[in-house]
Each structure stands twice: as C-alpha cells, then as structure tokens.
Amino acid sequence: MTKLKNLVPDMQKRSWKSILLDWSIYIVLLILVLVIIYIDPKFLSLKNASAILSQASTRIILALGVSGIIVLGCTDLSLGRSVGMAAIFTASFLQDPSYGSRVFPNLPELPLIIPILGAIALCASFSLVHGFFVAKLKVAPFIASLGMQLVIYGLMSIYFDVVNDSAPIGVLNPKLSKLAQGAFHIGTIRIPYLVCYAVIAIVVIWFIWNKTVLGRNMFAIGGNSEAANVSGINIIRNMLIIYVIAGIMYGIGGALEVARTGSATNALGQSYELDAIASCVVGGVSMRGGVGSIGGVVTGVLLFQIISYGLVFAQVNPYLQYFVKGAIILLAVSVDTQKYIKKK
C-alpha cells in the first residue's frame, strides 16, 4: 500500500464510467444483434453461423493485413483495389481448362499455386511501393493510399479491358472454387476451408505481432516514431516490411475472394477497405497508432460481419444498413478518441 500511495493519482482513476466507455461499442453491437434476433428469431441458426464465418474469413485476412499499417499510425485505402487486382489476376490465369472462351485460350492448365503466388507477389510489390512513399518520402499515409488506390484501379482496369474487353472473368477452374467453397465435416458440423485459412492467418500474424522483434518495432514506431529512432530501430525498413505483409494478405484475400464468388470484374473489392478499417477500429486498434491486438481485430471483424449479415437477413432497408454501419464507425472512433483524451 505504501508503494501504491506514491503513484500518480491518474493510475487508479478507473471509474465504472471509463470501464463502461471501454465496453460501450460491444454493448451497442450486442443490443443490435438482439434487435436483429427480435425481428427474425431464425437468425440464430448453425447455417447462418457457418455463412457468417465463411464471409468473415477473407475479411479477417484483409483486416489482419491493414491492422499492422494502422498500428504504424498509417492507413490504407488501396486495400479494396488491391484485392480486386489479385482477384482479376488469379481469375485470368485459372479458368476452367475445358471452357472455350478463356482469357488465355492457349494457356495450359496451371497448378493453382502459381497464379495465386503471382497475385500475392503483385500485391506485395504495390504495397512495397506504397510503403516507400509513406516511409521514405514521408507522404501523408492517407493521401499516399488514396493515390495508390487510383493507380492500382487504373492499371488493373487496363489489364481487365485488354485481356477480356472488360467482361467478367468467370468459369473458373473447379479446383480453385473448391479451395474456397469446400469444407470438411466434424460430425455434422461443416467447417469451411476458408475458416481454416483465416485461423492460420490469425496464428501467423499473432506470432509476428507478439513474438518477434518486427512486432515490437511496429508498436514502437506507431507509439512514438522519434523515440523509436533514438532506440536504434530502422523505421523505414520495418515500415516497408509491415506494408509488404499487408500486401501479401491482400493478395491471399483477393485470390480467395474470387474463388469464393466464382468470377471477377474490376469492381471486385471496391470499398472493402472501409469494412476492414472499421472492423479494426471497432476492435480497438487505435487510428493514432501504437495500440491494437489481434484478438481485437478478429472480434471487430466478427462483430461487424454479424451485424452486416444480420441486417441483410432481417431484410432491413439497405440504405438504413449504410446508416447503421456508419453510426457504428463513428461511435467506435469516438470511443477511441475519448480514451486518448482521458490520458491527458
């Protein structure tokens, strides 16, 4: 107790109010879920749970990618277009070999892994360039990502137009579709492969964040980049690696997304970044940088997905759905900001 007495008072100042503030976003989301269940009690079903999980899986992968960038204190609006780029690239090289009007009719059937790795490499390279603008040239992250978003969209649309006259690229190799749509069963419970990929991604990114020097450096840079510099951290290199990891996740997400939906256009992925960033914020990753956890990101995506799916399921007016999502984002950011203000 004598030890405690010497502490600055702010430390003990955790009233029920601040605890309530910490949990307010979850409380609101819980109430929303209860409202949805009230509107349509059938919402509570294994089938829905499985659907929500598969939909959430690619989103978790994407959110895990962008969350590192957010912890750095940056943001990435090019996520959605990167996903679209990966999807178009993957689709154009992995159509059903028996399909007559393929994008590349003379292309032999490729092993799945090659186009997918290609898509990942493509996204990673664009993220590397993106990271270079932010880390080395010190371009404001928001603007840099806005620029990258347009650059990627432009290039991918040209490709889309040249190779397939801007017609949707469909009739995919069934092996690719199986990759995303398949599942295995434990007893009667169906576990989609997608969920497994998401779990692997969660484990890998969790490990990077919590068990590696890179993870520590990421938090240091986001928390106080000047102090990180004095502590001997190579800020540019570490930031580039985090950006490249994000790009890899976008690439994986894009390939899985096209496999899940069965066809790709240059509109695929549009505004995915908003859901991903919003999920991170809902999950407590601070837009100010330096704060966040994998558990939070996953929780954020799941909650956001439950709400989105639930609103559709309960046949809520689509415009009202936008409104609700927007309100959730505003609330989440407000709560985050309140925490910061309290610290002063």
Binding site: L4, P9, D10, T212, V213, G223, N224, I233
Partner: protein, 503 residues
C-alpha cells in the same frame, strides 16, 4: 464585496481529493497573500499538480473550500478561472506555432469590430502589455519562431493581459538560461509589486529562496509545512520535502577517471542549421564530462550528432583508438553508445506502452534469435532488474509508462540504456523536472556507471549539478567549445563567463 479587505488573496482550505485506491490530496492548505510570491514545493507525485487542477476546475475536490478575494469560488474550467483573474502558465507550453504572438495572447477573446477581428487594436494592446513587462518581441512574429523562454514570457503576458490576480507558474525556469531567469524574476517582481499573488512551482531550491516570500511544502498528498521563505535554507527545505535528512545532494565520488582516452571527437560539424560548428574534445575512461552552456549553445545538437540522429557534415569520432561511423542510432548503439534524450515525451518514452516494452525496446537484439523471434522470459527478467535496481515505483511491469511520474519515467529510460552493454552514455538534461530523491538516485547510477571504467557525457543547465558530479566541464557557446575546465578548479562564474564567449 467592495471595500472588504482580506488578508489572503487566495485560500485553499483543507482540500481533499481521492481517486479510487489513493488519497491524492489529504487536507491540503494553501494561503496566498496579495503582492507575494508563494512557492509550492514537493517531490513529483506529492500532489502539487492535483492541487492546481482542483483550483482550475479540472478536478472537482471532494472536500474543502477555495476562497478567492474573500468569496467562496469553485471554477468549472480554466477558462472560467482566467475570466475571474486566476491564470496558469504551464510547464508544457500549449501554443499554436503557426499563429502570431498577439493571436496567441488574445485567443478566445480577440477585440472585434462587429464580426471582424480588430488587428490594429490587438497589436496596440499587445504592445502595451509587452511594455509593462519590458519584453522586446514583435507581436506579429509567429510563435513557432520564438525560443522556449520567449514563449514562456508570452504565456505570462497572456496572464497579465487578462488582468490576472493569481498567476500560477509551473516549473517556469526548467528550460531557461540564467540570464533569462533573471528577466523572468524581474517580471515576477513587477507583478508582485502590482499586488498579484504568484504561485511558483519549482524544484530548484536556490531559485525558490531567491524569489519567494512564502513556502508551502507537500509530501505524498499531505500538507507538510507553510512559512516564510526568508527564514529557510536549502537543507531545511530538502528535509521537509523528502521527509528525511539528505545531508548531501550529491553522492560521494569514489572513483577517479583513468588517463586512457575512450572517445575522441575532432572538428565535429553538423549538416543542417542550427547545429554545431566545430567541436573537439576527449572523454577518458571512467570520466563524467559535463557540458554547460546557454540555450542555443548547441549542446543537444553535439551529442545528437555524435549519436547519428543528426546529420554530420564533417569531423571524426574515434572510440578506443578506432574510427567509428555512427551514421544512425542503430550503428551507434552497436558501437557502444547510449543516448538519453532531453525531451522525454517527444523522443524518450512510448507513453501508451508498458514498462516492459519501454525497458527492452532498444535491446531487442539481445532477446531475439536469428529469425527475429523474441525470448519473453528474458525480457521479463530484465524488466524486473530495471524496476528493482532503479527503484521504479510502479504496481507492475504491465503498467503504462505514461502513468508514472516524470522521475520514474526517467529511471525506466535509464534502465533501458543500462540493459544495453554500452561504453559511453550521453545524458541530456536527465534530471529536468524530477524531484530531489529521484535526482540523487540518478546521480548515483551515473557515478556507478562511470566507476566501471565507462564514460559519461552529462548535459545540464543546473550549475550545482554539474559542479557536484562531473570530473570536467566542457562549456559551449554558440556551437563552439568555449573551454574545458577541471570541475574541482572552477566556479559558476568561470562557466558563465565562458558561456558568453562567442555570443
């Protein structure tokens, strides 16, 4: 209320403020007479700022009353306090760098012609205030272009312009040179002569005894003592503040520097102005070399250039007879250098992260295998070592460093650099804003470090500190070395004379 005479201008009576788990203020009294300077003293965490926050309505006290000009008051926020003539000059200046001096002074209460800001009147009013305070600053200058001391004067001018009766100064001299301190004291004296009550928060004993009329001492949230400053001396004050006899403010020097040269700096010159122009010196093994100088003498720039976080244009760095590059912090750390920066908040602590993170972040190499995977057990052990050997007051390793007091934050940062196997430690104003007890511990750590045959470069603006713990003192002036003196043969006057050499 008119015509009513009160002995005190401001009285805070029996103020109690509790936070869950801690009684931050436990019946504290503060009585400020009109036309007096009242020093408020106590170690960091003693409750001085909490008391002031109660005065300005940032906190709501649980018990007690505040009487201002004979009336019971309870301000809701600092703005309301200012409107009533109670103002505060914060240690950390809250100004808008891109706006002008006069806009900062009149912010929120600018004179207007209808809807339009009356710039001419604002300029004139600012001029008048500056004349009263004998300040030579252009009201149209951008705040960002002023020195820290000038910005501080602006804050005082703001208080004066609001016709403040009570002015609270929180550590006003922590970044000022002696000359600037004199100017500040003249301003304080003129405010006193105009009948203002000045509450003066500081850790510097000499200053307090020089400027104050009354003293109130707090310890651990308790009210300890109030009395006339004229009857006090430094030792009595220290005893009251720490609650124990501190017979000596500095640990006894037990080791002597060897003759072996550890670090040789020749013709060091920085790339981007303002920077060092030409610095040459040597540091011996086991030596504590102080660096003295006025603001703008480029002491910080010197060691930051040596550490590689400022670009070097010319000059050589030689350690143990070998040239070293030190082009960036990583390289310097690998070469055995450590730097504790001047501005803890800006480039020292990771405020939102815990003590373990803050202790170990510069030493990640020591915890990682080739793949960059870290050994958390070792990090935990090292953090325990930091907390125990530095006497950091904290409930756990997982506490955010931002929640600790300044002194404890500084100890964690020292621990961070002691965990690295360094040979040369460079400290930039390491005791600024830190209480007496913590200062002593930091001196002890520095001396122990040097006693192992390592070298220390110690920048300080506090003369007694430099004279108390260093072996030699390098005095800088305007980016150049004005002289290097043996500490035992020098005096405050010598150092001051050298400081002004190249001005």
């Amino acid at each position: 209320m008119k015509g009513k005479t009160t002995e005190y201008l401001l009285q805070m009576k029996n103020i109690v403020k509790t936070f869950p788990g801690v009684r931050a203020l436990d019946g504290v009294n503060l009585d400020v007479r009109p036309g007096s300077v009242h020093a408020l003293m106590g170690e960091n965490g003693a409750g001085k700022s909490t008391l002031m926050k109660c005065l300005f309505g940032i906190y709501n006290p649980d018990e007690g009353e505040i009487i201002f000009k004979g009336e019971k008051v309870r301000f809701l926020n600092p703005k309301q306090a200012l409107d009533h003539g109670v103002s505060m000059v914060h240690q950390e200046l809250n100004q808008v760098p891109e706006t002008t001096v006069m806009e900062n002074i009149w912010m929120g209460r600018m004179p207007k012609n209808g809807l339009i800001v009356d710039d001419a009147k604002m300029y004139q009013d600012t001029k008048e205030v500056f004349e009263r305070l004998n300040l030579d600053i252009d009201p149209k200058e951008k705040i960002g272009r002023l020195s820290v001391s000038q910005r501080q004067m602006i804050e005082i001018a703001k208080a004066v312009s609001a016709d403040a009766k009570i002015v609270v100064l929180d550590e006003p001299t922590s970044s000022l040179t002696e000359k600037e301190v004199d100017h500040l004291f003249r301003i304080i004296n003129s405010l006193r002569d105009q009948g203002c009550g000045i509450v003066y928060i500081s850790h510097k004993m000499e200053e307090i005894l020089k400027i104050s009329d009354d003293v109130t001492v707090m310890r651990d949230g308790q009210y300890v003592f109030s009395g006339s400053a004229k009857e006090m001396n430094t030792d009595q004050l220290i005893t009251l503040i720490v609650g124990r006899e501190l017979t000596n403010r500095f640990p006894e020097k037990k080791s002597r520097p060897s003759d072996e040269v550890l670090l040789k700096i020749e013709h060091l010159k920085g790339m981007y102005d303002p920077t060092v122009k030409d610095v040459t010196f040597q540091l011996r093994k086991g030596e504590i070399l102080g660096i003295a100088g006025l603001m703008g003498s480029r002491r910080t720039e010197t060691i930051e250039t040596i550490f590689g976080i400022r670009t070097r244009a010319d000059g050589t760095i030689e350690k143990d007879g070998k040239m070293v590059g030190n082009h960036n912090a990583r390289e310097s750390i690998d070469n055995g250098f450590a730097l504790i920066t001047e501005d803890r908040r800006q480039n020292g602590i990771f405020a939102g992260l815990d003590i373990e993170f803050n202790s170990t972040i510069a030493n990640m190499k020591g915890y990682a295998n080739k793949l960059g995977v870290i050994n958390e057990k070792k990090m935990e052990e090292d953090t325990t070592w930091v907390i125990e050997s530095m006497h950091v007051k904290t409930p756990s390793q997982k506490e955010k460093i931002g929640n600790l007091s300044g002194g404890n934050q500084q100890k964690v940062i020292m621990g961070r650099w002691l965990l690295i196997d360094s040979d040369i430690m460079m400290l930039d104003e390491p005791t600024r804003g830190i209480d007496v007890g913590a200062k002593y511990e930091i001196y002890q750590l520095v001396m122990d470090y040097a006693a192992k045959g390592k070298g220390v470069i110690f920048i300080s603006s506090e003369m007694p500190e430099l004279l108390g713990i260093t072996d030699r003192i390098m005095v800088m002036s305007n980016g150049l070395v004005a002289g290097i003196v043996e500490t035992k043969d020098t005096s405050q006057e010598d150092i001051l004379r050298l400081s002004a050499k190249y001005l």
